[in-house]
């Protein structure tokens, strides 16, 4: 057990940590996709520890920019995300997280965070 783990922290694999390109705030963007439907559920942010915990536990864990703290998705709502797969993009600054979502993903109660606000409709749908 490492010193980090004794102190309740989870260390990110150094090979991954060396690859990550974090923003000025130390965070990377995480796009969260429903494993079954492939729908984009939400976008959140991870610091190194959020990513380390997500990889180690398969419980999706993010960093809240408004509260400036780690946040296990569904910890209070019960709408947890079991992580199936995590990928890093070609620029190493964005994660793609495939999850089994319990309940609605959005804090509004919607299935996804993108359900409510359509800015541009599909031409085919408009035409029909």
């Amino acid at each position: 057990m490492s010193r980090d783990e004794r102190e309740g922290q989870t260390s990110l694999d150094p090979a991954v940590a060396a690859r990550l390109k974090r923003g000025a705030d130390g965070l990377v963007c995480a796009v969260v996709v429903d494993h079954t439907t492939s729908d984009v559920l939400m976008v959140a942010w991870m610091d190194d520890e959020a990513l380390a915990r997500t990889l180690a536990t398969r419980r999706a864990t993010y960093f809240s920019r408004s509260r400036q703290q780690l946040w296990v998705k569904g910890e209070t709502s019960g709408n947890v995300q079991h992580v199936r797969e995590v990928r890093l993009d070609c620029d190493a600054d964005t994660l793609l997280v495939r999850v089994d979502q319990t309940g609605p993903a959005c804090h509004t109660g919607a299935r996804t965070c993108f359900d409510a606000d359509l800015l541009l409709a599909d031409e085919d749908v408009q035409a029909s």
Copy 2:
């Protein structure tokens, strides 16, 4: 024709502009999804003008953070994106852009920007 349009700029609908929550750099995150396969192709960034042009022309247009300028996807490579649908998320800081992608989406030549770097494999795939 507005003054902006005469000067070659495209104005964002004020109702949308009022709703957008931009980062400190004036940008919002855009998650780009293949309309046919629902695969997440890439993540890019838009300022107000990139979004306005995307909505007006249905040619996906982003703001390059490294080059600090507008960028029409595929303008040099030919790998353009025809925009089918644009949605804004519940926090109004992330766009979901569904596109018909011509050619590979990634500058590496891969189909998506998430093809190459798997950080955590699916348990079911590991087990088989």
